[in-house]
């Protein structure tokens, strides 16, 4: 079935949008399936696990796919979906420039299809990063503290490092001077890691899940933006928002924030 033969998903029309989930049996995939089933305007048409055939998506008449599989299989899935005019919302990590260019090429050949590449489905985390970057140029100092359970292997977290880079970029664009810091003595590490000129501190404490705080300070005042993620159910609303919007946004979209109408 060629793309042109497929009717456009019509989310406003008679029936609910038919959704397929790739990686349906994983922890994040299960949450997405549950959320799709609970939504009146969506129908869970296909659950595809690691051993299953992706042709199932076509047989089930899937209009939008959510892909939460691994970096080493996700590109094959996306080629298949785009070729079949199935819109896709992708939560898998590891999209570098080469991958995005490849994806763009496939999408150019299937003009009505939309793909959202979203490294983070948490609306709260996205807003935290956006607000931190927007506020950064108004404050002399900005530091990032992230707090996770002690079984996490990397420090700082990917989200903390990305936040630091967004803050650094916003400050460079605004011509902010380096942050003040008179520290001249003390044990190594006390001042945290330097990520693009922004200090990042990583706590690893039993009982925590995933938390981050951005502290911004100017003379006489501080602004603190904190995100607490206590359950992976928090990723579902962002994934569903992507599912609902991507069919109306052909081509490549990177980052869920593009769909949040933040102005």
């Amino acid at each position: 079935m060629s793309t042109s033969e497929r009717p456009e998903p019509e989310t406003d029309a008679a029936g609910p949008t038919r959704v397929g989930v790739l990686g349906a049996h994983g922890r994040l995939g299960s949450e997405v399936c549950r959320a799709v089933e609970a939504a009146d305007d969506l129908e869970l048409a296909a659950r595809v696990g690691s051993g299953d055939d992706v042709e199932e998506l076509v047989r089930a008449g899937v209009q939008v796919v959510v892909d939460v599989t691994h970096p080493d299989v996700v590109m094959d899935h996306l080629r298949f979906c785009v070729e079949h005019g199935i819109h896709a919302v992708v939560g898998t990590t590891g999209f570098d420039d080469a991958r995005l260019a490849q994806l763009q090429e496939w999408l150019d050949a299937s003009p009505g299809t939309g793909v959202l590449v979203a490294p983070n489905f948490s609306v709260g985390a996205i807003l935290m990063m956006r607000f931190a970057a927007q506020a950064a140029r108004f404050f002399e100092s900005v530091e990032v503290v992230e707090l996770h359970h002690p079984d996490k292997a990397d420090a700082p977290s990917g989200t903390a490092a990305r936040t630091a880079r967004l803050v650094a970029e916003a400050r460079r664009e605004a011509g902010c001077p380096p942050m003040p810091d008179a520290t001249s003595s003390g044990p190594e590490g006390a001042r945290g890691a330097d990520v693009d000129g922004v200090r990042v501190h990583s706590l690893r404490v039993r009982g925590l899940v995933a938390h981050q705080e951005v502290v911004l300070g100017a003379p006489g005042e501080t602004l603190t933006i904190r995100h607490d993620s206590l359950d992976r159910v928090s990723f579902a609303p962002g994934a569903l928002l992507g599912v609902r919007r991507i069919s109306g946004r052909p081509g490549l979209t990177v980052g869920l924030e593009e769909l949040l109408d933040l102005g």
Copy 2:
């Protein structure tokens, strides 16, 4: 001297902008004077106290005035400034629709002059309110906690009430349902004050200065935006930003946020 005779303030030109402060001997006024004096691109040309003659502003060649006086004298000051083509940045409270209409009328007769009415000069507080309003529609629940020293007479604070109203307005526009709350028993007051459907809680604790926290929650995650104001020196940068921008923005501007280029 008529407006047309006065040269436009040229902040980029030869000399620094000549600034006058009305209410110069008050606590906030003193901070503004100190900040103006410390800025290379500004010159403190006149300090006007409660018994002084405002004609001094003209004699001193003031281009931009900062008015931090009382609601009962501020309108006379503004009429004088607008008539003399002096731009004004006003931190005084109590501007209702009638006052704003009057001010607009005066400004219509003096087209090159700009007035900024800013109920809050704290950039941190403004960002807190803006971010809270922007984020409000993405979360099921939003509550406001404000914490102040116990000598404060009103509860909740003006900033907390305004934040609640901005949040409520954003949620109405987005069609959000009422917030969930299963509370069925308990002593009166535990759930705080209801300000336009948003719960506001006021703590009064010795040792605190002025603090506010907006807590937003969705399944599995919360976003918290907190502003701590520890010293009134925090109001100076916002006032100076107004001083630097208002000459390039003729007419009436309400709210410092309009000058922050937040997009």
Copy 3:
């Protein structure tokens, strides 16, 4: 089997302590079972559910019982346990003076048996309350903020009300004056509920689990003690500590804090 015939549980001896759980199939009971099974020095000898016969405890040679059932059956369980010389750790709520007196009477007749009545198994919550009460007399102001999910029916929470009463009692004993509060205007409820002279504020926000903060303030400084309970697995260590200690503490013990050796 009479009490005198039963050997004392010997936790230090050859084998592990034999533990029975009453209410084993509930959410809290399941956690306790899991924790007992994971402990080297304990053996899960009996899981007793709502339809099961408590005689099973005797047949299984249970030395210590954990009871997490309902207030309307717990007294029957305790009478049975005490009569059979089985030590008990009770997490059920609703123990008033009459119930404690009855329990004491039964224990008087079975001198070697110990019962711990613990309305809260969370060590973190217990320490929060204790530290708040200890610190209360050194500060002019103390307020309590508790934050829970919006499906909770009561506000304030039982723990918050208990904390407020402990704080009030400590301040009365130390002769502290009433807390300062200049509030003279504002919508009802802004200042929270008055529990024994201590202000308590209840937030209900989706995404939260169970959290409490005690804010204490004196001129120039504040001390904040916060407890975050993110998972009911947090109740297990307290229950196990009770199990390990109660056999060495004949008679009635009220409150897990008595076993924490806090000095």
Copy 4:
């Protein structure tokens, strides 16, 4: 005048206790003077500055001295005070074992005299450290975050390092295993400084004063103890408490906590 000739300070008797302040013109000394003057049961009998003669203390009939001078002069002051039977409350830092031994020797020769050496007069900071040390053995993980203005030269702060050492000591005594931490990758410094096995993180942010947070975590729960010092006026109550108690406590006392009756 020899010690034996001096009447004991009688704080409960007719008049107020006569207090002298050494270092009276410094920032901390000025606060202490203000606080003494504001207290009904105390009288500020002597303000001694850096160029003044300490004999003034005797002439003014001072009963208790508060010394907030420098490490290089404090020992001479203390020898003088002890020889003259004047009790002393010392806030100066730098008391090592040699100095304490010397002080003890002088006090042995003047049995009725009391000296309190208190490296920290803030009751809030003392309680934070004490509670952190008491709670440490009940949690798998403990980390310290301290936040200060960016003009501070040392990182971590002295209080943070001392807190970490007290926590480490309490855990050693209780036989706690090392804290869990799976971190295997990331930029240097992300995990903070290692102070006796406890991770300490130092933030330096404009607008902050002096703040510290101790985060303790066990499965499913965390306990956070936070101290915010916003104004050096917070040191006065601790100093006054020392003044009121030291005359009733002959000999050497180290640490204000000894006078807090914390049980």
